[in-house]
Amino acid sequence: MKNFKKKLAVTSLATVIGFGGLLTTGASAARPGFDPHKVGGKVIISTFADAVRLIPFTTNDSASNRLEGMIYDALLNQDINGNVIPSLATKWSYDSKHLTYTFDLRKGVKFHDGKLMTADDVVFSYSMYTNPKSINTYITDFESIKTVKKVNDYRVQIVLKHKDPLILVNVISGAAILPKHQFPKGLDDYNNNNYIHRHPIGTGAYKFKDWKADERIVLEANKNYWDGRPYLDQVITEVLPDSNVEAINLLKGDVDFVESLNASTLPQVAKNKNLKILNYDQGRFDYVGFNESKAPWNNENFRKGLAYGLDRQSIVSKIYLGKATLSSGPMHPKIPQNNPSVKPLPYDVKKAMEYLNKAGYTKKSDGKLYGPNGKPVELEFSYNNGNKTREKYALVAQQDWAKLGIKVTVRSYEWSVFLDKLAKGQLDCFILGWSGYNANVEHSGFFSSTALPPDGNNNNFIQDKNIDKFLSDYKNEEDRNKRIKIYQAMHKYMADHEILIWSHHPKLSAGINKDLKGIKISLSTAYFNINDWYWAKASERK
């Protein structure tokens, strides 16, 4: 299914989403500016695949993650810029001598089933996430936690094994608090209880109401939410596996919000007077990747030659129709870790040839580029099949690199085969993206030499001591400003050595019913402030 896959491809990048933090409520307690006139109505959003389980960290698919974000709260939360703000914990402090965080819990918060949330629930939740037998897919993120202790009903302490300055943003503001009383068998329920998996109960702004497999999932407003109820009465997620059909539903008004419109459906949505399009940034970078441990890609000058020889400006303007910015490294321009002094490489065939010559490659009179081994250079450029944008990208690369004398064969693979070959380092070169980060970016899983496949996602087999040092310094630096400086330096290093062929940061386009208001989208989620979404004429929609 082409369209099916096209959407899968988007998640394919989003395999990295995950710890982006749960949805914030946008504001602190009591929600200033709450307007009762905005209350009412339901919103129907679309998803290409059904959720898997609605218990946090038991799965990593985007449909489940999105809904879990609405159903649960964590101890802390993040604002739109990624700063830590209170949530179930109102106050917290850090004792660096004893590596201990102390959290004061919000009093009177009730789970959706009416029971009070207390320190026991917090201790229980962390014991689920940290248990080595847990199916928590993010278990390694909890590695630095030694113990979680109850001090009294409304105070807990988290003791670390070692320094972990990023734990607040990358773990504690993402780890949902589960109701202990719903898991009588503890870990067995967390891992295996299908009833709980499909009837989640949290403290979040939305309560789970109904789930019809491969049809829809209904959440409804938690009217007793500690931060004030969300404006919408219901959020319904409909499963629409074909992107044409998703767009037709939007055009007909049967769906109110499509997170990411397909390029091919955009023109139709743009023409429709009842809809609006919101273009937004996503914390993501797209790149041309390769197995960097093998020739020819282990040669920096070869990589630079190909980067100069790829007309990415045309790609952005013609394939992405301008809805992308050129990139110079893995940092999105909207995060502080981006180093503004680093500029994307221009398209320059002459420079490309210079670098290729430096790398020992020469273009002979037959128009072919010959390598140091005396053989003409031939590359296979792959993408995941069904992704039309990437198909076009590959075709442009084929034409551009032909000008350097390189014969490029374009090839597409079915997604699971693509991933398999990617992890085994068998793809010659490919176009891929990496997404889901914000100002709390932490790139070690992707660039560190300790994260090589099959366990890690360093699918480009980058093994660079300098990069490893940047990554670990960043993780251990407690001062935020210094931390940012480290990644800025790494950004420059990665650009100077063209660690990957940095391509662009694409923007996404949401298709929205024009009466649906108040939407703010963050770098890591399109549903950042769904508690504040409202209908223009809400009273008519009750």
Partner: protein, 306 residues
């Protein structure tokens, strides 16, 4: 063949029985041709199909452009003198790609048919000729394959291979032979007991030569009909696999992947020539082949035309 599209080659039900008299092969051919010629639809089908085959063969000389030339600036152009069928969303010339696509789609269809026929005939012959427990086991396997929604299996196989023209041929033929095997077996069972086979056996001929020189020629009629109709169904299977992203991969053009990549809202509504031309080629070819198959069936089975 577990196809998503209803297909004509009801292999299991083709109504052909061995002819009662043993005609000499040449004269049989002449009689068949004479009957076939009378069927206007079949003749039209044959002419159209021949034209399409010619287009495929002559593609490099009659195409206005080259299949691997794109200009994204020239995407989605209306049909014009320069681009008689218009251009697609990548800026490729649709006529050129459809013509070259004919090569790919027809090659896939023909080779798949050949594979299915070969496997089916060998399998059916062995099963029918030896009979007994061998036959029993072999036919239970055919039963099993025919009871599975083979399209699911086909998807599994397709997803395990790197999609190319060869993998597509493999994938479609791997489950496409069962109907034919059953027919061939049936034919052989019924012919086997007849006098001339007994005679051949009595004169000491080997099994292999009995199958090839005496039995198979008598089963040729249903094989030809099924093989013909198979071509049509393979063309549709290729399109279906393409739709699921498991067929021949662009930029190599095939009718199926061209139709599929034109299957999006904006293209269908605003640039309809992109799906129409590959779609027309699929439909016309499939219809032409089915006409031929029907004509052959009638011509080869005299009882149908009384």
């Amino acid at each position: 063949m577990g196809l998503p599209n209803p297909v004509v080659n009801q292999s299991k039900n083709v109504n052909i029985r061995p002819q009662e008299t043993e005609l000499r092969y040449e004269s049989k051919l002449a009689v068949t041709w004479k009957r076939f010629k009378k069927n206007k639809l079949a003749v039209t089908g044959l002419i159209v199909f021949t034209l399409i085959v010619l287009i495929a063969i002559l593609a490099p000389w009659i195409s206005p452009s080259k299949p691997d030339v794109y200009d994204i600036l020239d995407s989605n152009l209306k049909p014009s003198a320069k681009h008689p069928f218009g251009t697609d969303s990548m800026g490729g010339d649709i006529m050129t790609r459809v013509f070259y696509g004919s090569r790919v789609s027809l090659t896939v269809a023909m080779l798949t048919m050949l594979c299915s026929v070969t496997i089916g005939v060998i399998y059916g012959s062995i099963s029918g000729f030896f009979g007994g427990i061998i036959d029993n086991i072999m036919m239970r396997i055919v039963d099993a394959i025919q009871s599975i929604p083979t399209f699911f299996l086909l998807l599994i196989v397709a997803s395990l291979m790197v999609p190319t023209m060869w993998s597509t041929i493999f994938v479609i033929s791997i489950f496409g032979w069962t109907g034919l095997a059953r027919i061939v077996r049936g034919e052989i069972l019924s012919i086997k007991r007849r006098d001339f086979i007994e005679a051949a056996r009595a004169t000491g001929e080997k099994n292999k030569s009995i199958i090839f020189f005496h039995v198979l020629p008598n089963a040729i009629a249903p094989i030809v009909v099924i093989a013909t109709l198979d071509i049509a169904s393979v063309i549709l299977s290729e399109a279906a696999l393409s739709f699921l992203g498991l067929g021949i991969q662009p930029p190599t053009p095939s009718w199926g992947n061209m139709l599929t990549s034109a299957q999006d809202l904006t293209t269908v509504l605003d640039y309809p020539w992109a799906p129409i031309f590959p779609g027309m080629f699929i439909i016309v070819t499939v219809m032409a082949v089915n006409f031929i198959g029907d004509g052959l069936r009638d011509a080869l089975d005299p009882r149908m035309k009384q």
